[in-house]
Assembly symmetry: C3
Homo-oligomer: 131 residues x 3
Amino acid sequence: MIKITLKTNRRSEMVDITARVERVVEEAGFKEGACIIFIPHTTAGVTINENADPSVQSDIQAVLSRMVPAGAGYSHLEGNADSHIKAGLMGSSVCVLVEGGKLQLGTWQGIFFCEFDGPRHRQVWVSFLRE
Amino acid sequence: MIKITLKTNRRSEMVDITARVERVVEEAGFKEGACIIFIPHTTAGVTINENADPSVQSDIQAVLSRMVPAGAGYSHLEGNADSHIKAGLMGSSVCVLVEGGKLQLGTWQGIFFCEFDGPRHRQVWVSFLRE
Amino acid sequence: MIKITLKTNRRSEMVDITARVERVVEEAGFKEGACIIFIPHTTAGVTINENADPSVQSDIQAVLSRMVPAGAGYSHLEGNADSHIKAGLMGSSVCVLVEGGKLQLGTWQGIFFCEFDGPRHRQVWVSFLRE
């Protein structure tokens, strides 16, 4: 398992980690199979979506905040119940196929770390599974 | 990696791809492990749900459209911000276990390609991971 | 594939299955790779979230029930359309890395079986993939 560290800057933020994951695949010399990208946090998630127009990322955050408003009478008293729920909706891991040592993503796809309770220092765990 | 191609017919549509994935597993002669079904698009997703009553599929689409309405003042100006967000909620891949050369699904489960910005020509990427 | 069985007690309930999955990993003697936790049902899902404060789990259920209300004019006539949709939002499987024979989870993470149409007897399928 390889650990990527990152620092987020806002409460809610989508950080494109595609290039960092690609570098991990390259440095590990992993050739054929799948790459698992796992988030070891409960107020952050990971998703794959469009990396061309950044407005897609802000639209995703805006809709999630409308569906799961901050401070809407939750039982959890740490002020981040919404962050936990958004993390659950996005998910804790994604799986990307690897061929010839390269991550296989569609033309417009990028891998995004989804911060929902930042700013914080965060980790992303990357591992490989054999074909 | 094996590529399945499909043609969707409506803007929003759930296409049961279970039989096509089963055929890929059979033709590959893959016996034990897991099958990854990955969608290389950012306005389509994949999910596992009931394949008996088609009304479940229309209910899923109806609720997603109520949660993420089309044309609701998004920043992304291509008219498909809702499609990107729905794809994110469903996810870009599913994992199904394989035993004795057969996909292991529950009695009522089917694998559905989730089109959110059709009609389009689409791909589904299938690969196998060893136990 | 190892099958865990469980009995849920309410219509909507999140059951922490972390310890049971850990026991399966230990008993299988599996050392390095990933553990797939798959739910073979269409009205239940699985997610990873905070296991310290149980109010996080009730908040998740409350928000899902507000987003997908029971009995809100669905086409599916078995009275559990909402359960199918919630299961789709949570997802049918999670993937957790394994190192040195131990599940690798973040400090606050637990694995939760998400019952949306209980009480019922349910299964969880666990399998391993090699690094």
